[in-house]
Symmetry: C2
Subunit: 510 residues, 2 copies
């Protein structure tokens, strides 16, 4: 494990002192107090649903795994070769077993969150091979970068998870990487985290490591991590994903069943056609999890971006991405399922105006569509190929704004505010009123990376872009970081497990 | 008038040829085909309304103008000194005379638009003393800059107006500035435009110039320009604004009655309190316009930003700005009034990630709140102190996205899309299907300033930021510009009017 003592560098002392004065806080689960946006009328949502279930009955879905096919057969589905046809009654009966809300436990109970219903949690990005670093250089991710991002995820009050592979620790051999990823997430942060799904064995290692921290008995039944299983659009669930599903669902650990759709390439060039297809893929995956363990918590959802039809490149914050999100939210509510979407998954290579436009386009839709597990809410650049330190910090600040937005408008001081107008009268000013003095600190969103100072002050401070201010903020946060408490015995057993498995596993993929 | 031949510079020939091949197009009025977002329940909207009308009855509003006070008295309002108390019955009767939709005529009938109902029009910014120029330098605006922005407004298919004072031509003496502003708007573009409100005499000059272009008879009754009259919050309408109202409303030219509220300073530190106050200020102004000319078209609306409670600086794309916009939209629908909001009015000094986050925050709310006249939809930086060439172009591209977004999801090819999935089947791909070939060009938003190319290609092209690409686009557009047709006699009479008034008016404010 790289650089456990990185935070003890010179200059960090003042930051640490400030931190001790203000102990690490985390915002509670965001409870939305605003209406969801219903883009389509209920009949149109029903029409999409009917086309999805018809597709699963008529076309069916491939399950490229003997064990899964046997499971489907035993459950009474119509299996022809590797093609599984599930009728709508069976499908909806299985999907109906999934709880509409669940508790996701953190190793520090203060960071435990609720997922589903009116709750939304924000989760950092996942899977970047590259980072855009503290000096604005793009390079491969390392374990030290991953440690850093887990530290930043721990310190950001707005984030409810440490994710896992925020960036890939590229210097570590692939067969051993998962060990260091999970150790880093569990050590540098005390929030809920995410699994690894690239093989059955690795998923089992993840569950063993979770067991060391939470207790084997606890993780048999209580959700502590969330894992992603992607359908191969169109309509294929492959063995790797099904293996991961079996490991995690049998432990009652929630999966995200969200096809990764490049609309126009892996779906038709129709936003609604894409939604109907992705819905079918998600539903049949969700149904399968209930054959593994009935009643296990799962997340419905989507990752849908359009592709540039000239180059095939995935796009980010486009209007269609927002529209499809709204419809997926409507479907999730129809099925009474907790659901996942993504927040800030932009196409821009850097944290510039494009990234800002895209980010807000997507998060705005995520919040208004009532998403519960809002992934990729910090760091994402380049359609997921890079995690940016600056982007991570600027995204987190934006999340504070979304707390305000989704908290809705409060009427509790409305009469006081009206009295303030009477007190002030025409042509008066409000800065000295009792109401203002009482409310000014909390009335409005007050960011610190966003800069609203006059031009002259901003110039005097170096005419910094938002991106530069984000990097400054990341450096300051890392300098102030302190490791969250972990029982020494647990830390040792985790380290011992990593050492043992490192010896057992090969350096090269066979 | 500066640089009428600026577009004939070297290098423009190829651009002009391309333009001749593809004649100047403009998008029709955006007709929204999506639901509005109703943030508050109807009872809460009613409660705000009731507090607003009570405020006008009990506190009243200052009208600092003898003529206006006489008008109110004659109409039966309770006038004490300069304080006008209007009871709710009279108020709502007057407001009820305003048409819910009107036609705004352009000198080229192809650019005439509808305002109100499900229609939205996008209008560039207004009032910047500074520009951020084509070389990314901040400096005072000039007449040549203003000409350029009118050219760009003309060329942008997404914009439905040329605005007027996009930036201030700072080298021209203030008493003569309005002449050159209106001449520039009417010459370099053929879209609807905006008035000048800084004095009665200037407003009269604007109407005379409009008369030269449209015919005096036409502009007596037909809307061709929109003007802004701001209430001095809290609760003061001053003589300058009332003078402008009389000139324009008597010609049936619509006014925007949108208090410019710095929430927390000119209103209480309560988002709902601010809305109730701004609503009262707008309603009493609207009522007054109907005493000038009953049935004249008017725009309800708001410009509300929060202020940084530490420095007093205005902020831009904050969550509260979005929330207040949603409520103003609900009130506008309650009153059945066409209404104005702003789209991209950010606080950021430059076109960076902050500008992007802020811009989308505000435009997203503007579209979902069903605004009809979406002002400040191109160019705005620094809380309105600067107009950026790059920001202008990147905003315009974003507007194309909002057309897609607000156009809603189309079901017309849904069955074809489902057939495409049947044709492709599990594990297939869609790029070669008949459906894809038929739809790929128009299925999804395809921007050109936003960059979704792979990292390697983007690097090879100079690793440009979104801001840099915006500047490139502005340069290319200006090189390709050609003057829209105008009858030579009209152009001469406009020029003669400007010359005559230039001689009559002083160079210094008296």
């Amino acid at each position: 494990m790289a650089d456990q003592t990185h935070h003890r560098r010179a200059g960090g002392r003042d930051g640490r002192r400030a931190l001790r004065a203000a102990p690490m806080i985390s915002l509670p689960t965001l409870v939305r107090d605003i209406p969801t946006y219903e883009l389509l009328p209920a009949e149109a949502v029903e029409l999409i649903h009917l086309e999805s279930v018809k597709m699963l009955e008529e076309v069916g879905c491939e399950f490229r795994d003997e064990q899964a096919l046997a499971t489907w057969k035993a459950a009474g589905a119509d299996v022809k070769g590797s093609r599984v046809h599930v009728d709508r009654a069976m499908l909806m009966e299985l999907v109906g077993k999934i709880p509409s809300e669940f508790t996701l436990h953190a190793r520090n109970p203060e960071r435990t969150v609720k997922v589903g219903g009116k709750n939304s949690v924000f989760v950092p990005m996942y899977g970047a091979p590259y980072v855009r670093d503290l000096e604005d250089k793009r390079r491969y991710g390392s374990l030290q970068d991953l440690n850093n991002f887990h530290k930043l995820a721990y310190m950001a009050p707005q984030l409810h998870s440490s994710s896992s592979i925020i960036c890939e620790p590229m210097e570590i051999p692939v067969p051993k990487r998962h060990l260091h990823i999970i150790q880093s997430a569990l050590t540098y942060s005390d929030k809920p985290f995410m699994g690894v799904v690239t093989s059955k064995e690795r998923a089992e290692d993840v569950m063993k490591m979770a067991g060391l921290v939470f207790g084997d008995d606890f993780v048999k039944d209580n959700p502590v991590l969330v894992s992603i299983t992607n359908c191969n659009s169109p309509l294929v669930w492959d063995q790797t994903m099904l293996d991961a599903m079996r490991v995690y669902a049998s432990h009652n650990q929630p999966l995200i069943l969200a096809p990764f759709a490049l609309c126009g390439a892996s779906t038709s060039a129709s936003a609604i056609g894409a939604v109907a297809q992705v819905n079918a893929e998600a539903l049949v995956g969700l149904a399968f999890t209930q054959l593994i363990r009935a009643g296990s918590p799962q997340l419905y959802g989507q990752f849908m971006v359009t592709v540039d039809m000239k180059t095939g490149a995935p796009m980010g914050g486009t209007p269609e991405a927002a529209q499809m999100m709204f419809v997926m939210g409507q479907l999730a509510r129809k099925y009474k399922l907790p659901w996942r979407t993504s927040g800030f998954h932009v196409g821009s290579k850097i944290n510039d105006a494009q990234a800002g436009y895209e980010s807000n386009m997507l998060m705005h839709a995520a919040i208004l569509s009532g998403a519960n597990y809002i992934w990729h809410s910090a760091g994402w650049l380049e359609a997921g190929l890079a995690c940016g330190y600056s982007k991570f910090m600027t995204d987190c600040e934006q999340l504070s704004g979304w707390y305000k937005y989704a908290g809705g408008l409060k009427f509790d001081d409305f009469q006081d505010a009206m009295d303030a107008i009477r007190e002030v009268g025409p042509a008066g000013h409000f800065l000295g009123t009792a109401h203002t003095l009482e409310h000014f600190e909390k009335a409005f969103f007050m960011p610190s990376i966003m800069d609203f100072n006059p031009y002259e002050q901003w110039s005097a401070e170096g005419s910094k872009t938002h991106d530069e201010r984000g990097r400054d903020k990341a450096k300051a946060a890392l300098a102030a970081y302190e490791l969250p408490k972990m029982d020494e015995g647990i830390a040792q057993s985790l380290a011992a497990f990593v050492t043992k498995r490192e010896r057992e596993l090969p350096n090269l993929l066979s």
